[in-house]
Each structure stands twice: as C-alpha cells, then as structure tokens.
C-alpha cells in the first residue's frame, strides 16, 4: 500500500516531519530551503499544528528551545547563513539536552556566499559550530526518499537520546523532485519525558531546563554525562552504505547529492575497465568508522569527494589512519563536481600509485 508521490525534496522534509508527529515548526525564510516553511504554513493548520514565522533565525531556534522543553516534537529549518545564526541556540539546547530536529539545506559560503548547493558546513555540523563540548547527530540523506525516511528517524533519534538531530542536505537535494514512497503509518517511538517543563500540576517537584551549572564540579559531571551519551550514540547509531566495494581499486567517500554523482562515476569507470567503490556515510556524526573497518584492506586508495574545500576528508584521514593514501577532490561556491572532474582525479591517482 502506501502512497507514491512526485515531490520536491524540501516539501518531503516538511511532510515527513508532520508524519513523524511534529506539530510545531518555527522558521525564517532563506533560500534554498524556504519550501519547507511554505509547506508547513499550509499543512500545519490542517493537522492542528503550529507554523510560526519568527523574526529571525535566532528567535526561531529559541522558540524551538522553548517548545522542546515542553516535550513536544519540534523542528526548524534553514540554510547555511541562517544555521550560523542558530548556533547559539543549538549550543544551549545541546547543553540543556533538548530533543529537536534542525534541517540545514546547505548553500555556498562563507558569509552570504551564494544560493547554489554546497557541503561546506560539514565542520560546523559535526565538530561543534556553537561553543562547548557537544555533538548533534547529523544525518546526510542522498535522495528524496531518504529525506523522508531520515527525517522521520531524526525525530526518533532526538527523543531516544534527548539530543538535537540535524538533517544535513544541500541545495540539490532540497530543490530536486523525485518519486517518494510514503508508508501508511510511521514508526513513532515514544520515550519517557518526565523531565519536560509542562506544568507540574501540583503532582511533582518543579522541573528545570537549563544549560547553566555555575559550580564547576557539577558542570564537569554534566559534561561527563553528555560525553557518555555521545559514546553510546557513537556505538549504536553509525549508518552508511557500501556500494561496489568488493574488488575496488579505489574507494570513493562521499555523502548527500555528491554520493549520487559518485555512483555515476562508478558506472562510467566500469565502462573504462576501472573498479571503483563507494563508502557513503549516512551519519556524519557519529562518523561511520565501522564502514572503513570493513573495507580498509580492499582498495589501493580512498578518494573523498565533497562540495567543499575538503572537510569530511579530515575524518576519513583520521579513520583510515595512514593505512591507505587518502585523496581529495571537490568544488566550492555552489559548483557541483562532474563525473569528468572525478574521473580525472581517479586517473591522476592511478598514475601516481601505478595501479
């Protein structure tokens, strides 16, 4: 059964959130993700939900902070410059251990940059971005179908660990139209939310949501608890796809829309008699080190491809840890790497390594 529809990536994120039980969305317009807000503005009133256009990204993320404090499922979305503005609130929500879903449909930077697709917010998403020792779970869909499935899953993960989950897409994914197969019913996981500040109703002590612990002994313990949670997520939540890795001479590493291009490269290479594989991280944090353990002995080299100056490649190098050479190729500023760009780099590596 289910429902098969042709939809735009951004709209699918919004629809998926509603199907996942999200009834509160706070946002601010920015290209190339604004269709999420358009969809929410139309759809939320029909399901008894709230769409609110905030006065800024800063306010939107703080509305998310307030909404998440009540234990309700809540989402905001933006694109790179707007996500920078949200970083203060993200740090606070991470510190206060609030579950929420944040969507970043990346565009070229730095600064106002451009409005074309990019992957140059990888560091910001996976290494902190805001202040303090914290992580978000970062999910990187690579198709419209996956935007749907991972958005639903993002809410479950957020509630499971009391953590922020980020959907890290790019302008290609947000703007592209593809067929999406909706399930009849979503698997909505429910967790204890007795921590929520929703009025104690004279039945319990007052609950407090806070990120401040002025006593350093307590703040260190709070941080230890956060790190313990992050280690658990690192152990349990790594997701990835291995594609054509079995006999690969070179294994590409790419996520999101670039991984789609890499699958085109694999097909093209096969026609030219070269065996190329792909490791596609689906979780960028936790970075899927398990994937590399499985394939580390196979290729002569890894080639990371990104729409950035080389950000994820640092995690690839850390993970491969010198066992194999790790190369990088990428485009920036809203330019998308072509199959030919990547094939040229593959030939360059083959010549250098004499493979």
């Amino acid at each position: 059964m289910g429902q098969k529809l042709l939809m735009k990536g951004n709209e699918v994120i919004a629809e998926a959130a509603i199907r996942a039980g999200c009834r509160h969305y706070f946002g601010y317009p920015i290209t190339p993700q604004t269709e999420i807000a358009h969809y929410m503005a139309k759809a939320m009133p029909k399901v008894g939900g709230v769409f609110l256009q905030a006065e800024s990204e800063v306010s939107a993320i703080n509305m998310v902070y307030g909404a998440a404090s009540t234990g309700k499922r809540v989402m905001t979305s933006s694109s790179s410059p707007g996500i920078s503005l949200k970083m203060e609130g993200i740090s606070y929500a991470a510190g206060a251990q609030l579950p929420a879903v944040i969507v970043n449909i990346m565009r070229g930077g730095p600064g106002l940059g451009g409005i074309q697709p990019s992957q140059s917010d990888y560091f910001q998403a996976t290494k902190g971005g805001g202040h303090g020792d914290y992580h978000m779970v970062v999910l990187a869909p690579s198709s419209v179908q996956e935007l749907y499935e991972l958005t639903v899953e993002a809410f479950n993960i957020a509630d499971r660990y009391r953590i922020l989950t980020m959907i890290l897409g790019d302008g290609v994914l947000g703007q592209m139209m593809e067929v999406v197969n909706f399930r009849d019913e979503e698997k909505i996981e429910t967790y204890d939310k007795s921590w929520a500040t929703c009025g104690h109703n004279n039945e319990r002590e007052h609950n407090i949501i806070t990120s401040i612990h002025i006593d350093p002994v307590i703040l260190e313990q709070w941080n230890n608890d956060l790190q313990k949670k992050y280690r658990l997520i690192y152990e349990k939540e790594q997701r990835y796809e291995l594609y054509n890795c079995e006999n690969a001479d070179i294994i590409l590493v790419a996520y999101g829309s670039v991984a789609r291009i890499c699958k085109g490269v694999i097909k093209e290479a096969k026609e030219q008699g070269i065996n190329i594989g792909l490791v596609r991280p689906i979780t960028l944090w936790p970075f899927p080190v398990d994937a590399f353990e499985k394939v580390i002995d196979i290729p002569s080299a890894f080639l990371t491809v990104e729409m950035s100056a080389g950000q994820m490649v640092e995690d690839v190098r850390l993970t491969v840890n010198g066992k194999k050479p790790v190369y990088f190729t990428g485009r920036m500023g809203g330019m998308i790497p072509t199959v030919n760009d990547i094939m040229s780099k593959i030939y360059e590596i083959k010549n250098e390594l004499k493979i």
Binding site: S59, A60, T70, G199, H200, H206, T210, I212
Partner: protein, 248 residues
C-alpha cells in the same frame, strides 16, 4: 491564631543570592504571590533570563526554563505555542530585554503573544558589575560610562513601555516602582493583572518594575530607593501604557 503573613508557596524556601538592598527579592515575591492567589502554580512555566536573576529557576516553585541572553520571549513563545492552556511568563532585566533581546521582545509584543513579561529596570547591568544599559540615564556613571552617559557618545535611554505601546499587539503594559510600600502594593496589583490578562487569553502583557541596584549604583539601600523616586520616575513615568480600560 490566624496567619496574616507567610511565604508564598510559589517561592521556594531557599536562600537567594541577591545583594543586600536589591529589589529583585521583592519583585520575586510579588510574582509568587500573584501565582498563589490565582492558583496557577501547577500550570505555570517561567523563563529565566541571563543577568542577576539568571538562576531564579531555583526560586520559583513552578516549572522553569533557563533561556539564553535576551531570548526569553522567543523561548516563552515556543512554550506557549505548545501549551496554550498553560501560563507562561518571562522575568528579564533591562540589559536582557532592552539591549540584546530587543528584537525578541518587540516581536513577541507585536504578535500579541499570550505571555506575561516581568521586566526589571534598574538602569544598569548588575551581574557583570555595573555597565551601561540601554536604560541608563543621561549623566549616570557606570563602569562603561565612567564620565557619565553622554548622549553624543552613548545615545539616549530607551523607554520600553512607551515604545511597545506604539504596537497593536500588547493587551496590557504598565510601569510600576518598588521604592515604597504604597508603590509595592500597586506593583503587586499590576503583576497580578498581567497574569489575569493572560489567563483571560487577551494577549501580551508586560509590567516594567523600576528597581534598585545599590551595589552598582554605589548607594546604600535607602538612598537607592530614593534615587528611584528622584531620578528614575521623572524619566520613566509610572502608569498604564496599554490596556487601561481592560477589565479582567
């Protein structure tokens, strides 16, 4: 024997950290008394600011959320939109509300967000040791206006109530003072009315409370109270700026 005076239930029985002579304690008590009298503690969620009252989540017995600097009205909006039947208030100082949080308070007011804002105006940043605030009076000496606030260099103090009253969103705005018993009683009525406005679903309510900061004003507590009357009230007149004919 009849009990004629007791600690409000909505105030936790813990020592407060405020300086001697600071009026935060009185303002806290007024909020707590209003919550008690309206019997809303169980369904109230408060939002703490950044500033001297950052940890008043330890003092109010209702559920509390600590917000980042200036963002309390946005946080309160998120809470209220999720829990429209609950009572949501923010408690913010003048640095928090009138400087870094200007956008948040203006837009919460403009939306007519059905929340209550308790706004403490003591014309100075207290917690970070006495810097100039947007509300600092002309000529007032602070650690960042050591030669007195000069309009050429520092601009002019902001009158928050008057500014917000130009909007159509707010249902009720009043400025009160804590400098003597008579005014404290009036302040109590204003705070209670603000909550009643919210309970009645009338929309945004804000009470600005002129307060002291003896430590950073360099005055003793009694002189500080006198300063409110002599210097603050002439610049920040008391009264109702929105909703004067509102019956709740």
């Amino acid at each position: 024997m009849a009990v004629v005076f007791k600690a409000p239930h909505a105030l936790c029985d813990v020592p407060m950290h405020y300086c001697p002579g600071c009026t935060h304690g009185i303002a806290h008590r007024l909020v707590a008394e209003a919550i008690d009298e309206l019997e809303i503690e169980g369904k109230t969620v408060g939002v703490s600011p950044v500033g001297c009252s950052y940890n008043n989540y330890l003092y109010f017995n209702c559920d509390m959320v600590q917000a980042s600097h200036g963002r309390a009205p946005a946080v309160a909006t998120g809470i209220k939109r999720c829990l429209p039947e609950n009572i949501v208030f923010t408690y913010q100082g003048d640095g928090d509300l009138a400087a870094i949080g200007t956008a948040e308070i203006i837009h919460a007011a403009a939306r007519g967000e059905n929340i209550t804002v308790i706004f403490i105006n003591n014309t100075i940043y207290g917690m970070t040791s006495g810097q100039m605030a947007p509300t600092t009076l002309l000529g007032q000496i602070t650690t960042t206006s050591p030669y007195g606030r000069d309009p050429k260099a520092h601009g002019y103090p902001i009158r928050v109530c008057e500014m917000l009253a130009t909007l159509e969103g707010p249902a009720y705005i009043e400025r009160v003072s804590l400098h003597d018993i008579k005014h404290i009683k009036k302040a109590k009525e204003a705070v209670k009315k603000a909550f009643k406005v919210q309970i009645a679903g009338k929309g945004f309510s804000l009470v600005e409370i002129l307060s002291t900061c003896p430590t950073n004003w360099g005055l003793d507590p009694v002189e500080s109270l006198k300063r409110i009357e002599k210097e603050l009230i002439p610049h920040y007149p008391l009264g109702v700026f929105a909703g004067s004919d509102l019956e709740v």
